[in-house]
Symmetry: C2
């Protein structure tokens, strides 16, 4: 390797957090050092770290590192150029560290999607004001370079729509329900027993984690101020094995999909279980895999797919950001200078055209179908197909009725459900799953 580079000033790195991600970064730099430094054009040195328990054996050599028990102290160290934040949490110590690091003019690399979703604009402004680099490739879809693909690879396009499978746990559960025929609760319990799902699975199965990632992608793709509170989020708890079977019979699979689109300066961001046509690439994304689609006005449809989580993929994304920082080539984190990011109003979902799958659970008695179809007619919803499914449960008092609507306004479906709101025929709230456009 050439002399100039090996003599170049190293990039000095502090690791906040020595969990699986922090240790993964150390392991990657050890395993791939020569190639990484050749690409970075200079050495990358981890010089300091912080962790709650500094004494624990993590299987990597920490003897050359300055260890701090207070992670905020990493931002003060004069021997540190970049802090890698691998602690997590939208607020608290991670946010304090991020602010201190950027205010000190040091680079910040983070995998913390919650913090970026909630405070990304403030941090981008702070980075710009202090000429510091802020990078968070690892915050979205693990090792898939989707931040870079949107921010740089597709930079020449007006992005029209971004959507994808952004939560591996939910996708694992849905695709396991699909192959086994089991219901949500059973698959979740099994996933928890195997360590694939957290003891408190809310973050994953209620769509919050996917919503964090979607808000970040939307901000980058549309050049918008990040607006996480505007993401309408529905998780997968209400999806039944019967819905998956019904969807399959109609030529669809069910996936938790985050969708963001931008029209007339208005932004629509939603995370919902959707029916995906089996001809669509997302229908073939199974297990814990993530996949993101971006549609640009010149490039057409781009799909990126890969491992959405895990120590290896996350370390891969963090070190890619470190290489960019070492080379001095990090663009503004949301693709536009922070002051140019547009404040976009949320769009009214009622204005949207689409097709829906609607599943009712009803009492098994005469007149129920007439009641439902009358409400649809009165609200102006056109039914493409209707399937009465038979007993929904053991005791036999409940029947499933599923229908697919023709293309129409979402407002009409909401109105139909409103009309049925007080009905004694319905044993539970209807489940509406939008059909993803092919």
């Amino acid at each position: 390797m050439n002399e100039i580079r090996t003599k170049a000033h190293p990039l000095s790195i502090a690791l906040a957090g020595l969990g699986t991600v922090g240790v993964g970064v150390i392991e990657l730099l050890e395993a791939n050092r020569e190639m990484v430094e050749a690409r970075a054009g200079r050495p990358l040195r981890v010089v300091a770290a912080s962790a709650r328990d500094l004494g624990r054996d993590r299987g990597v050599d920490l003897s050359a590192l300055a260890l701090e028990s207070d992670m905020a102290a990493l931002a003060d160290r004069h021997d540190v150029d970049v802090v890698v934040e691998a602690v997590g949490g939208a607020q608290g110590p991670a946010l304090e560290l991020a602010r201190k690091t950027l205010a000190a003019g040091k680079g910040l690399v983070t995998a913390n999607k919650a913090m970026i979703a909630h405070h990304g604009l403030e941090l981008a402004q702070l980075a710009a004001a202090n000429s510091a680099s802020l990078a968070f490739e690892a915050a979205v879809a693990g090792g898939i370079p989707v931040v870079k693909a949107l921010r740089e690879g597709a930079a020449a396009n007006a992005i029209e729509r971004i959507y994808g499978i952004l939560n591996g746990t939910s996708n694992y559960i849905l695709s396991t329900m699909e192959t086994t025929g089991a219901d949500f609760a059973d698959v979740l319990a099994e996933a928890q027993a195997k360590g694939y799902a957290e003891a408190d699975p809310a973050f994953d199965v209620d769509g919050i984690d996917a919503a964090h990632k979607l808000a970040i992608l939307a901000a980058i793709g549309f050049g918008a101020r990040i607006d996480f509170p505007a993401v309408a989020t529905t998780g997968i708890r209400e999806v039944r094995a019967a819905d998956i079977a019904q969807a399959r019979a109609l030529g669809f699979v069910i996936r938790l999909v985050g969708v963001a689109d931008c029209a007339a300066g208005q932004l629509l961001q939603r995370v919902r279980p959707c029916l995906v046509p089996t001809s669509h690439p997302l229908a073939h994304v199974t297990g814990a895999t993530n996949a993101v689609v971006a549609e640009g006005n010149f490039v057409g449809r781009l799909l990126l797919q890969g491992a959405g989580a895990g120590a290896g993929p996350t370390a891969s994304a963090i070190v890619a950001d470190l290489i960019d920082i070492a080379r001095g080539t990090v663009p503004p984190p949301f693709s536009l200078p922070a002051q140019d990011l547009a404040a976009m109003a949320p769009a009214d979902p009622g204005d949207r055209q689409g097709r829906d799958y609607i599943r009712f659970t009803v009492t098994d008695r005469p007149g129920v179908l007439a009641e439902i179809t009358a409400a649809m007619r009165d609200a102006g919803v056109s039914i493409e197909s209707l399937i009465q499914h038979g007993r929904a449960n053991e005791n036999g008092s409940e029947v499933l009725v599923a229908m697919v609507t023709h293309e129409g306004l979402e407002r009409s479906v909401s109105k139909a459900l409103e009309l049925l709101g007080g009905s004694e025929s319905l044993t539970a709230a209807p489940l509406v799953l939008p059909i993803l456009r092919d």
Copy 2:
């Protein structure tokens, strides 16, 4: 938008070639100017162009451009920072222009995969020697940012294998054969009539175009000196409808796949029709779509998919490169400084382990199967399944015999075919299609 940026010095661009790609670049810059310049941090101005016929109406306004009939003159113009080469051809005027442009210290952006495959190392060295940017995202897989994904997004990884569907025309033909049951010649003729395939289709259907792209990806992914002559290339002309039907019955589809891997400093690069398991993401890539898979030692398997050709996607990739140049953030074109690129010896394919599909066309007489299976036995090839297919043609003298081997050395299969070389039972050379690992 901020004052500093709009006052910034514009990036001045010359377009060599005003065909669909050159015109696409002008159209993109007109349509997306505001967003592109905000991301670039400065204006992008096309100031000059060259074309064979400068007078022809191309539907875009060229009145503000300096027009040169000699494209090499673009490299001499003092008002030009970057030349976009959209002419094509591995040698000749395109190469002359590329050399002159880089020697003058100007940036070069090109979609010319043949030129990069043949002369990429020389041009990278010339760029480094003159501190000029060389960028060719558009040369591989159209608008898919796969060069950037490998060079930067996956930069932290030792890449172990790169493979993909790199030629849209071949994939269109194979997937049409699959859905219609028609044979190669008929589908090709139809594709030519529709303008989906060139009058001389050799470049596409014989795998040369895919081989150009594979050589570029391998050089970037493995940090190697590009070695196009070492790519072993077989096209799709010998694939019959019967092979596709047979593959389907066994759980596979047939795709033209370029595969490069790197082990012990030796590089294996091949473009061949392969059997792809229907569970593999590449099995669902139909029509003119391109898809690239890269496997890294930390990131795992990454898949990128999108439109592999066309004016829009190509312009998208070219302008992404121009934005990088405007921002001053173009890494070395093959991911490592030119002088660090390794000269890798070609690997011996005979050493490879794998499974194959082998199809024989034989005369319909007793003893043929015994002859074939004896040759397999003598060469040490273990047969997993064998299907005698029945009449291969109208006059009924020919029979198809297809088999799938167990995992074994490629050398053994070659030896078995050698043993059968002089046989009068075979009516044509056997077709060997490797089975892609899942």
